[in-house]
Symmetry: C2
Subunit: 210 residues, 2 copies
């Protein structure tokens, strides 16, 4: 009996090398930037020859895309976990704390992520894919905000809850930009919390972070 007629026999070695290539690529991309990395460099960092690369990917672009998907999905999972952690109506500040911890964890990832952004900005297909990913993230945040409704009143200027979720993402992106330059992760965390508090709580609301 054969599991699949058409697909090539899936070997264990293949998935290992592929994972190794992706890991090495992450390190190299983070260090030098996508635009300045050659296929050879990735292979050398992973300890393979170029034959291995061409056996697994068609181009650097394809590898980059696969790398982004892998890591982005992982982070999205962690964020979703941090958002779902507390009960149906617990306080927003705690959730903010946990999410902030996850989102501003790894500077290298922010570097690669931004590289991917400028890459996507010039390729409509990639941009579309990234936009969808961001939309999913926003939805998760909106769901969480919905659960907190009543506890904290949202400022009306942002419009509905979806607008508020949009604002959260914008704050994250804005803080990321600054962080890429000054590399002050702890400062960025504090700063992001402040921003989110300012955005999500009514100014007249006595309940604030800390």
């Amino acid at each position: 009996m054969v599991t699949d007629q058409t697909a090539p026999r899936v070997t264990r070695r293949r998935v290992r090398t592929r994972a190794n290539l992706l890991d090495a690529a992450f390190a190299v991309f983070a260090a030098k930037g996508f635009g300045r990395v050659s296929i050879e460099e990735v292979c050398e960092a992973a300890g393979y020859s170029r034959g291995a690369f061409y056996s697994n990917f068609d181009s650097l672009d394809e590898l980059f895309f696969a790398l982004y998907r892998q890591r982005a999905d992982l982070i999205a999972e962690q964020v979703a976990g941090a958002l779902a952690l507390d009960g149906p109506d617990l306080d927003v500040p705690a959730a903010v704390d946990r999410v902030t911890e996850v989102l501003l964890l790894d500077l290298d990832w922010l570097l690669v992520k931004t590289d991917f952004l400028v890459h996507a900005a010039r390729d409509p297909d990639v941009a579309q894919s990234l936009l969808e990913h961001r939309a999913r993230l926003r939805d998760a945040i909106a769901d969480r905000l919905l659960r907190a409704r009543g506890l904290t009143e949202l400022p009306a200027v942002l419009g509905d809850i979806d607008g508020a979720a949009h604002a959260v993402v914008a704050a994250y992106d804005g803080v990321t930009t600054q962080l890429l330059l000054d590399k002050d992760v702890e400062g960025a965390r504090i700063w992001l919390k402040q921003l989110l508090t300012a955005l999500l709580t009514d100014g007249s609301d006595p309940q604030r972070a800390h």
Copy 2:
């Protein structure tokens, strides 16, 4: 009488070709991204040979830096103008409108600017220079906010006026990220205004944009 003993005779042709190279570089960088552009491409776009390039710049990096400085200074000037336009205490929303108009004018510039950001994120010297530029911008905004004090009460969560200026820049950066993907300039403008209003005005403040 000689204007300068040591410096080479400043020719008119030189400044023209240099400007042409910079203009062409802007177009090419915007279209393909810094990482994917060769010296030859820039020269071809400008209508020169590589000889002209090497006569004016030492490397693509140097040209990129010069290009960024040129355009960034130009924009900073326009922003300063938009901030200084009204009297010593006129309304913030009008200033927000004008600044938003200037900052979200040219998508190509945002592309190149972001390219430069990821470039700076990997080179401490360049990062330092960019940070200083951003600090000057923040100071201009803080000055403007100071003039408006009393008219609109700032939310306390942001801390002092400098914190508020910081938040303005973060909002701008955040909106830029989204804009790079969806290319909706008009939407981004509206959205940025909303964000700034939410950040700069107390939630209980009845005075809002529009």
